[in-house]
């Protein structure tokens, strides 16, 4: 029997924390099964709604809807992170883990780093 919720450790770096109450580290709990359209409504899933295991794409939407304090266009673009934002899954580049399709597991550490502040 899998868990109903996943507990994740989220970190922001490179100035991205400024959009999240200027706090670098957050503990976030999300449902393990989510709506396929990435809608983050906290209402219970009803019969007939298409679902999927929670992945990073869902997490990005969840962070935007429930944690982000300002200017969501600086974080999310075309259903993924904005170009220039790097993502690490348990200390590894998310490009090696399937990017947004990576299925989250309880206890995962996800890091978002902005590279947009130049030389």
């Amino acid at each position: 029997m899998s868990l109903d919720v996943l507990s994740l450790k989220i970190e922001f770096g490179g100035g991205l924390e400024l959009l999240f109450s200027n706090q670098r580290s957050h503990n976030v709990t999300i449902p393990s099964k989510v709506r396929r359209d990435d809608s983050t409504s906290l209402l219970p899933l009803e019969d007939g709604i298409e679902t999927k295991p929670a992945d990073i794409t869902y997490l990005i939407h969840h962070l935007r809807d429930h944690l982000l304090k300002e200017r969501s266009e600086l974080f999310i673009e075309n259903k993924t992170v904005r170009p220039g934002i790097l993502v690490l899954v348990n200390d590894t580049d998310w490009e090696l883990e399937g990017e947004g399709d990576y299925a989250l597991r309880n206890g995962d550490e996800i890091v978002f780093i902005s590279t947009l502040h130049g030389g």
């Binding site: 490179g14 400024l18 200017r71 170009p83 580049d93 490009e95 090696l96 590279t115 502040h117 030389g119």
Partner: protein
């Protein structure tokens, strides 16, 4: 996906999307560990990542350290002067400072394949300079300027901090302190496309006020961004000269180099594309007979911002400057940045191709004249050429001789305050600087500024002749210097 086209129509059909990494998830270097990072399609583990980055940094830098490459092979690394590091507190320069510290100031951590068997630092003194630009924004100094010294000093007492302010560019006291030639406060008058230099009608303002007048006289937001960049660059060069530095290192990454190359070319800076990547700036100090030079090197120009960001994250570097780019800016550099960063996300190799291609460009003939404003080469005959290609109205043309009879203007009445002597400096500005000042603003009008304060170095020139001249590298020296950067990683 970033492109100029309509994303809804064209989508990914422009270029087929490639997988982000080549074969397997194993590290291509040690072939043992599972990878932690993908760098332009190649997979590396965390252990192999650090030596990879530090080797690329040293390969870019170390062939330029000794006055001639031959000396390097025999005697190890020894520079002919001190080192100045330009530090903005942003990602690139934070990584640069960390690499300099770990490579040259903690000798026991040095790695194998060492090109400097004698160990130690190739420069007798290492200065770290930051330029506070809050004066341009009429704002209080930001906290990052206060944090700057803390960050730098936390590394090593061997780093000596230099705090510069953007308004120093208009400060005769600063100019005197660093040993500049006798100068005076003069300003530009921009009359159509002619730029004149003459005494300011009010020469009692503070450097900060001069700076703000200067910034507010620039015709477009692109010109403002360029103007500030140029002031920073010249402040760093003159500071390097005053501290007897043979090298100025900047934290420009491959990504930011590609951005500045594209945006510079698009604004008429094509003639100095080579100088965007590598430059030797020479000067002669007061009372001295021989020329000295400062090599401007960007040791991170083989590293993308991704590698820099992973280095900074894994080394837990403190990035003190976070605000520069918050989006929404509409000048050419900001738009180019959006484009390049988007391109890099999906097609990372394309961005390195931009920098590589530009490093192969050379200009047809060499130029000895350098621009009064930015110190970069002035293309011979540039004004003639500009006259030929520009579409202008008759009212832009200055001399009545060139006008047909029916549009000749009546002779202008002499203006009483214009008896001040002036130097016409149009021909001594590079195409890019000239265009910056004479470009049409958003309202379409030609700038017609008068009494625009000129930076101190511009003032020092005309009365003293070509004393701060720019020397090009010999062909052989140049080839040796760029050979390494042309090799594939």
């Amino acid at each position: 996906m970033s492109s100029c086209g309509n994303p809804n129509v064209e989508g990914d059909s422009l270029m087929p999307k490639r997988p982000k990494y080549d074969r397997s998830k194993a590290c291509v270097k040690c072939k043992l560990n599972t990878g932690n990072i993908v760098i332009r399609h190649a997979v590396y583990c965390k252990e192999c990542f650090f030596p990879l980055i530090s080797i690329r940094f040293r390969r870019t830098l170390e062939s330029h350290v000794n006055p001639t490459p031959q000396l390097h092979r025999r005697k190890g690394l020894k520079a002919s002067g001190n080192l100045l590091v330009g530090f903005s507190g942003g990602l690139g320069s934070s990584v640069l400072l960390d690499l300099i510290y770990k490579t040259y100031l903690t000798p026991n951590e040095r790695q194998e394949g060492d090109q400097n068997p004698n160990g130690g630092c190739p420069w007798p003194n290492v200065f770290v300079a930051s330029v506070d630009i809050s004066g341009a924004l009429n704002a209080a100094p930001t906290s990052s300027n206060i944090n700057f010294q803390q960050v730098v000093e936390s590394y090593s007492s061997n780093f000596k901090c230099i705090s510069l302010k953007l308004e120093d560019a208009f400060d005769l006291i600063w100019w005197k302190e660093i040993g500049g030639y006798e100068s005076q406060t003069r300003g530009f008058d921009i009359v159509n496309e002619e730029i004149l230099l003459r005494a300011l009608s009010d020469d009692s303002s503070s450097p900060a006020e001069y700076l703000r007048t200067y910034i507010s006289s620039l015709p477009t937001s692109t010109a403002v961004a360029n103007g500030i960049q140029n002031l920073i660059r010249m402040l760093l060069l003159y500071t390097a000269a005053s501290k007897r530095c043979s090298h100025l290192l900047l934290g420009t990454s491959l990504t930011s180099l590609s951005i500045s190359l594209i945006s510079s070319i698009s604004q008429g800076g094509g003639y100095s594309v080579k100088e965007e990547a590598y430059e030797e700036w020479s000067y002669r100090k007061n009372q001295e007979t021989i020329n000295q030079s400062v090599r401007v090197i960007r040791p991170l120009r083989d590293l993308g911002t991704k590698e820099c960001a992973f280095w900074a994250w894994w080394c837990r570097l403190k990035i003190v400057r976070k605000h520069r780019y918050l989006g929404g800016r509409q000048d050419i550099a900001a738009l180019t940045r959006d484009f390049i960063v988007g391109l890099e996300k999906d097609y990372p190799s394309t961005v390195s191709a931009i920098a590589r291609t530009c490093s192969k460009l050379t200009t047809k003939e060499d130029s000895d004249a350098k621009c009064l404003m930015c110190g970069r080469p002035v293309q011979a005959g540039i004004q003639d050429w500009k006259h030929k290609i520009s579409i202008r109205s008759y009212s832009d043309v200055n001399t009545d001789d060139e006008l047909p009879q029916h549009v000749r203007r009546p002779p202008e009445a002499p203006q009483s305050q214009d008896i001040r002597a002036f130097d016409a400096i149009t021909s001594r500005l590079c195409y890019a600087c000239h265009t910056t000042w004479t470009s049409k603003g958003i309202r379409g009008g030609t700038t017609k500024g008068t009494d625009i304060p000129a930076p101190v170095w511009v003032n020092a020139h005309p009365t003293n002749g070509e004393l701060w001249t720019r020397k090009r590298l010999g062909v052989e020296e140049m080839h040796a210097a760029i050979a390494d950067s042309l090799l594939d990683p």
